[in-house]
Symmetry: D2
């Protein structure tokens, strides 16, 4: 199969996540980056593109021009990765979706609920795919956890504990010229949620992905601990799932010592599961009344979903980039299937998952504004 021609919106210099998408797209050799609106001006875009080996005439000053022109090219891009700040997700995605170009978009879905609903409509109207990079769902042990719960390994779920602490915003970096900090604490670019939108959504999404539970209501207490910060940097949430399971979710960007501490613990009537992103090749399985088991990527006790998402033998650690690459690899499957008129089942996050994430952010913000009252999603 020929490589899928990929474009990118955003991801110029200084942008962490753009580089991640590019590596993820390369790992399995199924994409070729051929075009980009990488930066905010044509000049900068061409400079960034040159460093990436893009032809100068495929480096654009904005996504609209890129969408229009690439759609006309005989060998124009088949898919686009959108890796901009949140407020650009919707307008950019719309342009590509309406031209039938598949979209792989970073999370959260958009910066506003209004945009989110429009993007859902645009995605549902389009024949093109829309994949949201909730990349943590691509880890093999996360896949195994999901499969085990679906197959009843821990019984009916009672308790969910999700957390995602970081520490990089412990000090007011947004006032010190750090671009990543600037836009992530700016309501105009990030939306109403700060930490809750940036990483709280990942924890929320992960909990739903693994447990299969639907969140009904929540009570959220958001804080901005750093003086002058305009968005939340610490998020405490209590969760009530349909069917009676209860949970807690904590995310923070002011918790020193936590580099990127996404963690999920799920307890059911018959056992528990624990997974930590920083050590992603392990999954604790604790069947009630039996010894604790440390399951590993590709190791003894691996489920089919674990093995399918693995590349190399157990004990050879795979990491964040491989998990991210699984999203790209499976998106490639879907893109190839689409070209043949097939729509296979898959595990990838969809625009509906993105909408659910937006509802989560919105509910947290609403709840917190009402003294952490319970709100429905």
């Amino acid at each position: 199969m020929a490589r899928i021609r990929l474009g990118m919106v955003g991801g110029g210099n200084d942008a962490f996540i753009g580089g991640v998408h590019r590596i993820a797209a390369r790992i399995d050799g199924r994409y070729e980056l051929v075009a980009g609106a990488l930066s905010s001006t044509a000049e900068k875009s061409k400079a960034s593109g040159a460093a990436l080996g893009l032809a100068s005439d495929r480096c654009y000053g904005d996504f609209a021009e890129m969408a229009k022109r690439e759609a006309r090219l005989k060998d124009g891009i088949q898919a686009v990765a959108i890796v901009t700040p949140n407020h650009v997700h919707f307008p950019a995605a719309r342009e590509f979706l309406k031209r039938g170009i598949h979209v792989i978009c970073d999370k959260p879905l958009t910066s506003t609920m209004a945009d989110a609903k429009k993007l859902v409509a645009a995605a549902e109207k389009s024949d093109a795919l829309f994949v949201l990079t909730h990349n943590y769902t691509g880890y093999p042990m996360v896949r195994q956890a999901r499969q085990m719960i679906a197959e009843g390994a821990i019984g009916r779920v009672r308790v969910v504990q999700a957390e995602y602490p970081q520490d990089w915003l412990t000090k007011p970096l947004e006032g010190e010229g750090v671009k990543q900090a600037e836009w992530r604490t700016d309501p105009a670019r990030s939306g109403a949620g700060g930490c809750v939108g940036d990483i709280g959504t990942h924890a929320f999404n992960l909990a739903g992905f693994v447990t299969g539970l639907e969140l009904e209501s929540l009570a959220a207490d958001l804080d901005s601990f750093v003086d002058g910060r305009r968005l939340d940097d610490n998020v405490n949430v209590m969760l009530r799932y349909a069917g009676g399971a209860k949970g807690m979710l904590w995310s923070s960007q002011v918790a020193p010592g936590n580099e990127n501490g996404l963690k999920l613990r799920v307890y059911g009537e018959d056992g528990g599961l624990e997974w930590t992103q920083a050590d992603p090749n392990y999954l604790w399985f604790t069947p009630y009344g039996q010894p604790k088991q440390l399951l590993t990527r590709g190791g003894a006790g691996a489920t089919s979903s674990n093995l399918e998402a693995s590349r190399i033998p157990p004990g050879h650690p795979e990491g964040y980039l491989e998990g991210f690459a699984n999203i790209y690899n499976e998106a490639a499957d879907l893109i190839e299937a689409a070209s043949e008129g097939r729509k296979p089942e898959h595990l990838l996050p969809t625009v509906q998952d993105g909408l659910a994430g937006m509802k989560f952010i919105d509910a947290c913000v609403r709840s917190s504004a009402r003294n952490a009252a319970w709100v429905t999603l």
Copy 2:
């Protein structure tokens, strides 16, 4: 110094915590158990006492008789350990306090708020000491965490994450003849709180001990996941401390794989601290912007409070019993000081700490009854 003559109320056969208190009292050789109302009848009490080497005439059928008689003996007990189910704490403590016998009492303070207030009054009226065995505060690394925060090592505290999951009540053991499960799930003996009273209070107390913060209000969502259970077995709480720090507290007795998972994490403006009860000889110290440090009991970087609470060199693990013994050892210091008319400063949990714990339980129950609304303590 001669050993302090100790009596015990409760702690007959089948009682886990009675044996713990006895070992804790023996470790440093400062007490001699000489009397007991160990069980609910004189006959059973004598049987239990015989196994412990007590003289038959110092084994009583009830605490009232014991208090009365021991107070008259020339070599009667100087202190009593109360290790019964919660509802007996108050009436028993009252009898000894009013006779000037020092009381070392298990937590929570009582089974009702009304009793708690009466016990506070009784303790304050008495010349005798009242020590509550929030034993986890006796661990050397907990002492170090408290001292480090007091000395500013992590700056002003912003975020508290306390948790105490267990798994032993995952199934309905109270219906299977397990005595420990019976009384701990019985409102008449435990009070209005189940899991929240049994272990949630430990987590609450630990957070306050370490941070020095006062809890102002909370929102609690209590559940009884096991069919027919009469008290809560899972506790989700959001916390607001005086001065603006925020926290979460989770305790559960239905979380498979968690044997006794008390854990505290505290994050301030300049760093963080993490401590886990199951591995108590370690304390993570994470100063912002510097490498993570793993501090150890008695090891490099140990504070004075760590060293004072340690018996043996680093790398030779001390455990739960030694932490518990620190409470007994320091109570012995106070008892000896009292006999000399001194009242030295100390770190031991007092009746006021017990009252605070009762208010915490009460607030959790009230909040949960009102759909987890915020309530003040």
Copy 3:
């Protein structure tokens, strides 16, 4: 049962291990320390004894006087703990053994092979017991490991990896007035082995205890890395067991970061076991082709020997002192049995185990002197 009257030789001020023996003897309440030759002069001994609550006339200036006098007392000591530097073990033990007083002696057995053989003879001739405190064999998970191997859980043993690194002698403390360092690096008091005698023997003993294997030959490379040190401070050994199993043993006192890192790993035809002293409540069991299991003290999968050596529920960590106390507790069983003419089976280290340890030290020293040639034990 009345408490066993215990004496102690050594264990005055500055002596770490004396305090450990005293706590271990107290934990289960089966001994009462009533006499001591705690220090090298009667005056010092009385001062140390006073601090421990001993009667002045039971504090002796030397062990010979103590043995003679206590043997004549109606309520003289029934057992003695010998906690001196190694060279005193034999002469002291001899005095008590020949008077029928049970001996609980610290390891290694003696400071010379000649003494060791004489001590074996003395112990075998005496009706009194001789127990060597290879305390690490008292840990519940060590007991479980031994039982599992004996019951075939990992199949025939192929590979043994034992290690015991410490770091406290990284610098020349013996030249800085540290008493513990002085005698442990002094051939006259420690014997021909330094690190190998002090802690290497523990690792050797533990490997034999757990596997049941007999060491046939070894090749050892001993070093003194610290300038001027008179005994080895780093020990590399290759092991050949009867029956074909192979092993390695490393012990060191110059490995910074290792507080007390005794660790044993055993691999058989069907599985493996791993235990680490610093985290003693855990035991990894890795059956070939199955998920790794983390077994816990008193938890699911606990063997009878684990449970019998445990005092409190899983998740409430027991430590070094409880493991040590198990030796004392079981010695009390033997002493009581002896008083009734019974000689029950037991797991306690004997004088023969002590002799085996001396042969190990001797073989290591001989091998190293011959350029680490293979020598038989």
Copy 4:
């Protein structure tokens, strides 16, 4: 910069390491695989090549034909990855080196010492580069460990503990049709070393890379525990380095529970370092007399070499493939430099490192044949 045109020898179906090399070559986007002698016949090679998107006429039946033809093509390969069983390394490398095609070769260097020496000669005669994929040296924390030692962070090195246990050959898989097991236990294809050649060399290489020490002599005890196995599956070695440092090395393929347990511990006069391959983003640094520090990839305390070898922020785990990709990435730097006539300094394993590894294997085999006597390298 245009991508480097890469060929591959070996790496057809069933071959684990071929896929690893291909991903490693793709991650940073600097190579394009365009030709291959992937399997032992032209037909199989074309089938494997087709699956990888290679043009049919660039898929060869043997490496000699490939080398000859590609050297003549205008856009022929610039570099070749050799990922065959060991005995093919030398003849294949020779063909490409003599035509000026850069060689990236899997370890160990060859299957015999004679071949190794010829390969050194061939590499030194050629203008082309020869890079050996001792991939573990590519991990960022390994780079940091090396730099820290070179800069004196732990003082003069005294003690090295290297180990590399696996468990996949615990049972006689070579008799069950497992190809990976067949050739790795076959002297004709692997050489005189089994486990020692396959993974022992990695541990040896890693220890040398990190410490900068040169091994002078060793004593090795090799075993084949599995009945009928023709090469060693367990390797115990004592090490003596130039300058006086001592070490031990254990590698095994019959240690159940060890998936891929490469680990290195180094202790010097002033501190220690510990690194474990399965958790590669961490490095323990234990300065003597100070708290233990857990250093992380890209985190606080990262050295320049750590940061240069990292792609993404701390807490986002990089793994085996990224470490391997660092080798490819830096080889690309060298290849580009070579095309400009430059020969920059680098950290990549060379043919001389490969020769050192062969001498290590040879010395182990010689020593073991002489009852584990000491032999010089």
